[in-house]
Amino acid sequence: MATVEDAGVFSAGEVYGRQRNLWVDAFRRLIRNRFALIGLIVVATFAILAIFAGPLGRYDPYNYQNYSALNQAPSLKHFFGTDDIGHDNWARVLVGLRVSLSVSLSVAAIVFLIGTAMGCLAALGGNATDTIVMRIVDIAYAFPDLLLIIIIEAVFRAGLWQTIVAISLVAWTTIARLVRGQMLSLKQSDFVLAARTIGASEPRIIVQHILPNTLGPVIVALTFIIPAAIFSEAALTFVGFGLPPPTASLGRLIFHGYETISVNPWIVTFSALAVALLMLSFTFIGDGLRDALDPRSRGAK
């Protein structure tokens, strides 16, 4: 950390250097947080498992069916056991991880774009647009989230992209509200006033000063949208919307596991644990990011 002494004389290059280090600093603080580090490691491991689900799964998750090994407990041959029609559960959980990760990361990307755009529109577009955007957000809040997602999903019919779009169409409102609030308060801040005084143009102020400063809270909020999206996909598929069969998403595995829970609790245990671990890791990362990006906590350590 920079102390008062070494801030005595500094060149423009040093100032620029420190500015660029903002994100490096944040990352350093993030991995110093033990829980966030564990979260990062788990997510990275899951991502690798999901990407290489084919070779690592050892069996074909859909077409491999061993009728002489039904409802088996975990063994060296079948790491997570087999289900009631002889599928290898390990291979299917890996594919499920792939589905959950691609749904949740796509939702986060779409929500980031729509939410930020709508939030900017509300904060910078004048009174009329602000009212319209915020009324849309208010109305969306009056719907029960999952039921609205289900109705939208029913309109689009089941499918991977349809699920992603349906979840995103409901989730963007949180980000829009956050971006709007951040921007409105940043617009009043002293450093924006300072930039305006030295003659910076309005677009430059927005792009250079306001937008980067809203990014921190938005990234934190996005890491909490990821577990919510994982949950939404699992819940949707669980009640029969979401991804159509035979796609082995984690939601479907849990749903299927429930049907055979009394004879073979392994299917539901492993898929439920995968969902919970994934959600937990993203929550850890989100908590860590919030501390790492919070300017008030900076210099405290």
Binding site: F143, I150, F238, I254, T269, A276, T283
Partner: protein, 305 residues
Amino acid sequence: MTTYIIRRLLLVIPVLFIVATVTFFLMHNVPGGPFTMDRPLPPAVQRNLNHKYHLDKPVWEQYLLYLRDVLHGDFGESFAQRGRSVASIIKHEFKPTAQLGIAAFLVAAVVGITLGATAAFNQNGPIDYLCVFFSTIGASFPSFIIAAFLIILFVVKLHWFKQLGWGDLRHDVLPVISLAFLPASYISRITRASVLEVIRQDYVRTARAKGLREIAVDLRHVLRNSLIPILTLLGPILAGLLSGSFIIEYVFSIPGIGRETVDSIFNRDYGVIMGTTLFYAFLIVIANLVVDILYAAVDPRIRYS
């Protein structure tokens, strides 16, 4: 305050109107209709049914007819369960959901506030670590995952409860725990943070300095003031429990309104979809309103004009 409440209550009407409109047109864009199911009806019967329920008219005309009926207090009839009115379905099916939701709400509030407050009063002690652990873990275990572990332990291994069925109190235990887990962890996290903040306030030091007994300081000065931020959470949590329990209703096959709603979307049962969505929206809007009013009632610094 009274004018504020009246104004907020009047605002409920346009919100419900827009929710009705959005749902109506969304739902009519869902492919298929209530009478195009797996076992096809003779074309003449279909024509007559469509005519009876105005399904042969253009969508906007159906929409106006629906609005007219709703304004007269008539929410229509179910297509899938012929002869039952939507109002009676909601009334009947909401009972199990409300029973579970309110029980889970009470459990979550009592457990969450007790755990959070105890943790904060013993900061960095073992109970505190337990609370932090529980609140972090709990937020990542959705109800249907908790339910899976509960069923494996108490139904499959120990045979203490049955998974399916409804009606006697024993059947409430597992669903209520599954539903209460996440909100309890959330409430305990917020309570802990809030109590820790209030403990450091000057008026708490004053109370202690004037010689109040420790328990009186903790209950009357600390806990009462730290409950304010929690109050704002309780409304959305109750609304969420009442509207989001359909997964648990599926898992334990409870005949609740959440399951009814999901089934109605499957069956294109337009009347029930509209009725239950409006009902939910009403619950959510009212819950938020009650929270805002309570907020002003307990915190004298907040004034609505």
